[in-house]
């Protein structure tokens, strides 16, 4: 494909088309609306369906319903809408229905500053719904990666039967870069294969990899799906001997596949005693600071996280053993830094935070090396 100038939100839309997304339901909200606009135009061309729902709660419900019917589905929103979606995100996690939720983060809380950037939903992406549950969140740092991670989001959501949050931000979402997208025909997404007969099919049974295959409605596998605690065929149950094995599978299924889920980039230098750790738009700041620091002859490590949740404990712990100080720039008051501190101890972590809509500057990161 030819090189095109496009913004991150466009790339997300194209990533969805390339990944085989054939249903989008959403509600307009700045700064995510371009995703809906492009999909309202492109989905019918490939036989897909777009609907603008009455709110974000309905949007989230509709994409789950459509995936139950067999269509790969997505919605896109920003902070306030993401808050409204939380109950049904929990439903998708509980019922193990694959879906992709794009959150182009804006400044909050509340209406905040709709056009200002933020990374304030890191913890909401992990713990926004009630109860313990597994979740995957990915965060792109460029326009091209917005495309790639959208494709990955669909692949992971199918493979692991989980909602996947694409934790984008206003800066990457509205930033324009020249990109060359791959040929969509080369993109492969995991497809569920149900080999059991309808009589023996159990949608929530235990399997060696922790992820039972998912049959859509309407093709002969009549079964029950509920947000209640359920047994392996989907019926509500209060029996601990039925609940415990299922709960164990649900809450450990992602851990078993971290080698596939963990997306990151290590740029390490022998002898470095300080590291930058960042993600999303702030990783661009950190990478700029890295260049400046290295130009001055300083040795610095850089760990960029693309997978935010589940948190990359192994990689961050290893980095903590390499260096004395980890500087974590982010556009919130230190949400991911909490996790880094949990792995390496508070004393090793230096937060460089800003939650007023402005980017962290490279100079702020460089200053943190000194203090």
């Amino acid at each position: 494909m030819a090189v095109k100038l496009m913004q991150g939100n466009d790339a997300i839309g194209w990533g969805a088309i390339a990944a085989g997304c054939r249903f989008y339901a959403g509600y307009p909200i700045t700064p995510s609306t371009e995703v809906a606009e492009i999909l309202s135009r492109e989905l019918p061309k490939v036989g897909g369906k777009f609907i603008q729902m009455e709110d974000e709660i309905a949007s989230m419900a509709a994409i789950i319903g459509a995936r139950v019917g067999g269509l790969k589905s997505m919605t896109a929103t920003s902070g306030p809408g993401f808050s409204l979606m939380q109950e049904n995100i929990g439903y998708a996690a509980m019922t193990e229905i694959p879906c992709v939720v794009v959150n182009v983060q804006r400044l909050g809380p509340s209406t905040g500053q709709p056009t200002a950037a933020s990374q304030g939903d890191v913890m909401q992406a992990r713990w926004g719904t009630h109860g313990d549950h597994p979740i995957i969140a990915l965060s792109p740092i460029s326009v091209r990666q917005s495309f790639d991670l959208t494709v990955k989001a669909f692949d992971m959501s199918e493979k692991y039967r989980t909602p996947v949050i694409l934790l984008a931000d206003e800066i990457v979402g509205h930033m324009r870069e020249p990109v060359e997208l791959p040929d969509f025909k080369t993109i492969k997404i995991f497809e569920h294969k149900v080999i059991e007969s309808p009589a023996t099919y159990k949608a929530f049974r235990n399997t060696p990899d922790g992820v039972p295959p998912l049959a859509p409605f309407g093709v002969g596998y009549r079964y029950h799906i509920t947000g209640l605690f359920h047994d392996e065929v989907g019926f509500p149950t209060q029996r601990l001997d039925e609940i415990d094995p299922w709960l164990e599978r649900l809450n450990t299924k992602l851990e078993k596949h971290m080698d596939d889920i963990a997306l990151f980039e290590e740029d390490y230098q022998a002898g470095a005693k300080v590291a930058f750790l960042s993600y999303g738009a702030s990783a661009r700041t950190a990478r700029h600071a890295l260049k400046l620091a290295r130009a001055q002859g300083k040795k610095v490590d850089m760990l960029t996280l693309f997978t935010i949740w589940p948190f990359l404990e192994k990689q961050v712990e290893a980095l903590g053993e390499r260096v004395d100080r980890i500087i974590v720039p982010e556009m919130n008051l230190g949400q991911l830094a909490y996790e880094v501190e949990r792995m390496v101890g508070r004393k090793k972590v230096k937060r460089v935070v800003r939650a007023n809509g402005e980017m962290v500057t490279p100079q702020m990161v460089l200053d943190a090396m000194e203090g």
Partner: protein, 301 residues
């Protein structure tokens, strides 16, 4: 409609205390729509009307001869919504108030399926009120079955959007001061193409209305008026389940009978009106969208 199968099902309890005949379950085609591997009895209180609505729904689907694989029941949360789990279709028990939004996604993904949303009055009209009117506005090809027992039963008897004025509830200890929603009027105003109401006393009429509603292409609504003797009945001293059932018989009137009354009597009617209030056709959403895809793929800009 042919009611033979209904009487066959009724044959089960013709004599109180008598055990069901051998193989009674297998002998009834209608009962085959119940899930054999689901543990019964149901969660409903003895004497509840919701089971009657479930029977009517099963008989309606059976009467239409629908393939079980092509029927989806999408339920919200509440006593009524628990209905879905007992029936052998594709059943999706969702979150409170959102059945129609889930059903919308499912219907768009599977326009070939009959999608039936099962909700109580609080589910459909309070927390789910916005979805109710927008699903009607779009004329989405879904049947909304609203069981109206005028109370939040599962949580113990709080007032709902259909609790009558003055009715007592655990959260209306001095009587309800909020006027109730007329469900059928709301559905018609919002654009539903089929709207009917009956009660759990008039079970065969419910069968008929449900069969008609499900056979519609567009958005259809059936309000099944029931009662909750456990909460509303107790708080308002309305007696037993039998008393409340009898009250549905005594305090309801067929629309055809009401229409024959002089206008001044019609104006002061306080009885529940049973009947079909609208039966019309307009373009159904998934068909309109299919046409849009054809237009776009044909090169229309």
């Amino acid at each position: 409609m042919n009611d033979a199968h209904i009487y066959e099902a009724h044959d089960l309890k013709h004599d109180e205390g008598q055990l069901p005949p051998e193989n009674w379950f297998d002998r009834s085609e209608t009962l085959q729509k119940l899930r054999k591997n689901k543990k019964f009895p149901t969660i409903w209180c003895s004497g509840c009307g919701i089971g009657i609505v479930m029977g009517a729904l099963i008989r309606a689907i059976d009467h239409l001869g629908l393939d079980n694989d092509k029927v989806a029941l999408v339920a919200g949360i509440g006593c009524t919504a628990r209905m879905a789990v007992y029936m052998d279709f594709n059943t999706l028990h969702t979150t409170h108030g959102r059945a129609l939004a889930f059903a919308t996604g499912l219907k768009i993904a599977r326009p070939d399926m009959k999608v039936i949303a099962i909700m109580g009055d609080g589910d459909a009209l309070a927390i789910g009120g916005n979805h109710f009117i927008h699903t009607a506005r779009r004329n989405m090809g879904i049947t909304a079955l609203v069981v109206n027992n005028t109370i939040y039963g599962m949580t113990g008897g709080q007032y709902s959007p259909t609790t009558p004025l003055g009715g007592r509830a655990t959260t209306a200890p001095y009587g309800n001061i909020e006027p109730p929603f007329p469900i059928c009027d709301l559905a018609i105003a919002a654009g539903a193409t089929y709207v009917a109401r009956s009660t759990v006393y008039h079970a065969l009429e419910l069968d008929k209305f449900l069969a008609e509603a499900i056979s519609k292409d567009g958005f259809s609504v059936v309000e099944a008026v029931s009662y909750c003797h456990t909460t509303f009945g107790r708080l308002n001293k309305l007696g037993t389940a039998t008393d409340m059932m009898r009250s549905l018989k005594d305090n309801s009137i067929a629309k055809s009978a009401l229409d024959r009354l002089p206008p001044e009597e019609q104006a002061v009617n306080t009885k529940i009106v049973r009947g079909k209030f609208i039966d019309t056709d307009r373009p159904q959403y998934t068909q309109v969208y299919a046409n849009l895809i054809t237009r776009v793929q044909g090169g229309e800009k």
